[in-house]
Amino acid sequence: MSREPSFLWSNSTSEGRLTGTWRTASPDYRNLPSPCLGACPVNGRIATWIGQVTKGDYHGAWTTLVDNNPFPSIAGRICHHPCETACNRVEHDEAVSICALERYVGDQALEENWQYPKPETMHDQSVAIVGGGPAGLSAAYQLARRGFRVSIYESQAQLGGLLRYGIPSYRLDKSILDAEIARIVNLGVTVHLNTSIADKGGLEALRAEHDAVFLATGATKSKVLPGLDYSQPWVRDGAKFLAQTNAGEACDLGRHLVVIGGGSAGIDVARTARRLGRDVTVLALEPDDLLPAQRTEVVEAREEGIRFVCGAMMQKVDAGADGLTINCVEVAFTPGAARGQFTIAPVDGSAFTLAADAIIPSIGQDADLKKYGDLLDSAGPVIAHDENWQTSSPGIFAGGDLTSMDRFVTEAIGMGKEAAMAIARFVDPEQPAFVKPSDPAVPFKVINTAYHSADGRESPAHVAVEQRLQSFGEVQQRFTKAAAEIEAKRCFSCGTCIYCDNCYFYCPDMAITKLDQGYEVKLDYCKGCGLCVAECPTGAINMAEDLGR
């Protein structure tokens, strides 16, 4: 009797067949850097914190932000946001409004009064920081949160430096500045106001008193426009103008003002003057599309009725009874290799004149290289330093505008952070070194745009022009919650896993295992097809050569 057909049946699973042997490549979850991370002067983990925003984890987002920058509310208002220029989304529709999102999170932190946790361990080493501007405060924060003793020596009556004295309040409200600075001071930083370390002796004394010194006194000397007599009452240096007006002093200049310089400082001067009821013309060497100021600043300035005369230079000023006649000529402008470098050639027969009551040259600032005598070597227009931000004088470090021609607030913040880490390591070799991200940024082409609609960016509201001109209130408004949520979701999250599970669900071989946070490839079964990589919406996975098991 044969009732044994059982062997014809399939009774075991296919899991004994290890199809991983077919593979020549396998997925690698690497979380490669996003282009914004590399472009960000503070190397902020932008994709990460925006991802936290999409999940509604604002405190987490803020914590990620302040890991690299203690000023998210400030940077969210005034950063020149190279991250947005680098944003892969530019090739899809428009860059993510990273800056406005950062402000949203930063303001949330101020509203909620989130404070930094106290350091877990305290160190005996002390560091003196000379200059309480963005670079100095950034360094103070990074050192203080690591438990070092920090003393700031500020020549002015209040901390903030350029943030306080150079940036008008319609771009950065002073209450924001005060709050973000206070949060740093609350970490236990000792502050010496109205204390100038004015000369070589003072600096040497400070160095002797502390385990290290960080110099961040900025670029305080205004560049001088050749051919302009600064002693005339109708000439006012731009930085001085801003310091006076920011301090609330009345403006004693006439009605028609010509601001010379198309950088951020020039625009700040122009817009400030406009708010003081003046008619303002900006005269800039650069053609319109190459103006060094941020585009939004130029746009907003034009909205506010400021006239731009671009691609031209002043040649001579004739002062008459009815005011000034500024003789100008158009120039051919050729940008140089580095920021701030250029060549110009006057265009024959293009002479014209501008009428004005006063001129405000605002063409930039230089670092004061002579202040500390021969104690510090210089390198061209800045103080020389090694890769650890240490000057020629051991134990004295420098950063910010003093050491760099990249004259942006967030560049200074980034330098402050890097220098702080170097200083920490200098005073305590067990401290970790700063590691600049070296992996190449995730390119646009690895982003699977099928998962990202192209609807354009959300923009924060702007106050109407008429209202703007009546006060120094902020022009750009905070995102609404809804807009922030929409905008955060636009982020490609380039190179950063968003735990969307696409890799898990698109694997035909069930070769991806979900972990609590992340995924693992079952190499026994992965055939190396690359579907997980192709369908990753963020480019967080790579195929890496792997000749099977």
């Binding site: 009774n11 067949r17 898990y504 097809c529 192709a534």
Partner: protein, 291 residues
């Protein structure tokens, strides 16, 4: 972005021998996990048989019966009737077949099962040709496509299987694509809850048969949907049409350029295909409007 969501119940095992990156294996995974364990499958010879099989192992957790290529719906009918008689009406009986076993040799038995409104969920994994035998044309092969038996490109259109099925007035017909997994899951769930004959036609781009990369099947099927070449829709009771992806945002050219089977096409050829897609798309939308 919309997150893919379904419960992975382990209904398809690793270690199956589908090609790396296979659309059919992935679609099978989705279908089986959505249907769950209380099911019996009837498999027609096709790549499915290869994926499920290799005696004495099975890549599927549910019991399946491998039948002959033309008999899928008939065999499934027999299984279902037997289970009904045994009081196991709740068990889903799945017909699992390729396009050859559905559009061609299996059409007769499928038509009959549909006419009888047998309580089966028939899933056609449509890779537009006899891909398991190395890639010859079936009546599902689209016009112009090169296959082993149409080396100069097929001269006639793809058979409109959905229209044929709709004429049977069965309760549920739907198309699905591995690029739209949530949609596929929803359709399987919907079909599972309906008594009578349900047919799901899933477009499964065949990597060697269509000439696309190992990692390209989702992209290809997504383009098929977004170009309107393979619209995602449902037909209820043979008369009510529901569009699931309502926009046609990609040109047919984008779809065909990914595939070696179309690499010989001229611009005129592509324009011709585009015109047909546009015509069919409008026709479909008129039907939706007539609901």
């Amino acid at each position: 972005m919309e997150k893919i969501e379904y419960e992975e119940k382990g209904q398809l095992y690793s270690g199956h021998v589908a090609c790396a990156g296979c659309a059919e294996a992935l679609s099978l995974r989705v279908v089986l996990n959505t249907v769950g364990q209380d099911a019996v499958g009837v498999v027609a010879p096709s790549c499915l048989a290869v994926i499920c099989g290799a005696h004495p192992t099975s890549s599927v957790k549910i019991p399946v019966f491998h039948t002959t290529i033309e008999s899928c719906a008939a065999t499934a009918s027999g299984v279902k009737r037997a289970l009904d008689k045994q009081g196991k009406s709740q068990t889903t009986v799945l017909g699992l077949a390729g396009d050859g076993g559905t559009y061609d040799i299996g059409l007769q038995s499928l038509s009959s099962a549909a006419e009888r409104n047998e309580d089966i969920l028939y899933v056609c994994f449509d890779n537009e040709g006899y891909m398991n035998t190395g890639g010859q044309k079936s009546s599902s092969t689209p016009e112009k496509a090169v296959t082993g038996s149409t080396p100069a490109g097929k001269t006639t259109r793809k058979k409109n299987m959905i229209d044929i099925l709709a004429a049977h007035r069965i309760p549920y017909i739907a198309t699905a694509s591995p690029s739209h997994i949530n949609d596929m899951v929803a359709k399987v769930e919907k079909a599972k809850a309906i008594r009578g004959t349900k047919v799901l036609v899933i477009l499964v781009p065949c990597l060697p048969g269509w000439g696309i990369g190992d990692n390209a099947m989702v992209k290809t099927s997504r383009l098929a949907v977004e170009s309107g070449v393979f619209p995602l829709f449902e037909v209820e009771d043979g008369t009510r049409y529901i569009m699931n992806h309502t926009t046609k945002t990609q040109p047919v050219a984008e779809y065909v350029k990914l595939q070696k089977r179309y690499k010989h096409l001229s611009e005129d050829d592509i324009a011709g295909l585009q015109a047909e897609v546009d015509y069919d798309w409008d026709r479909l939308h008129r039907r939706v409007a007539q609901n």
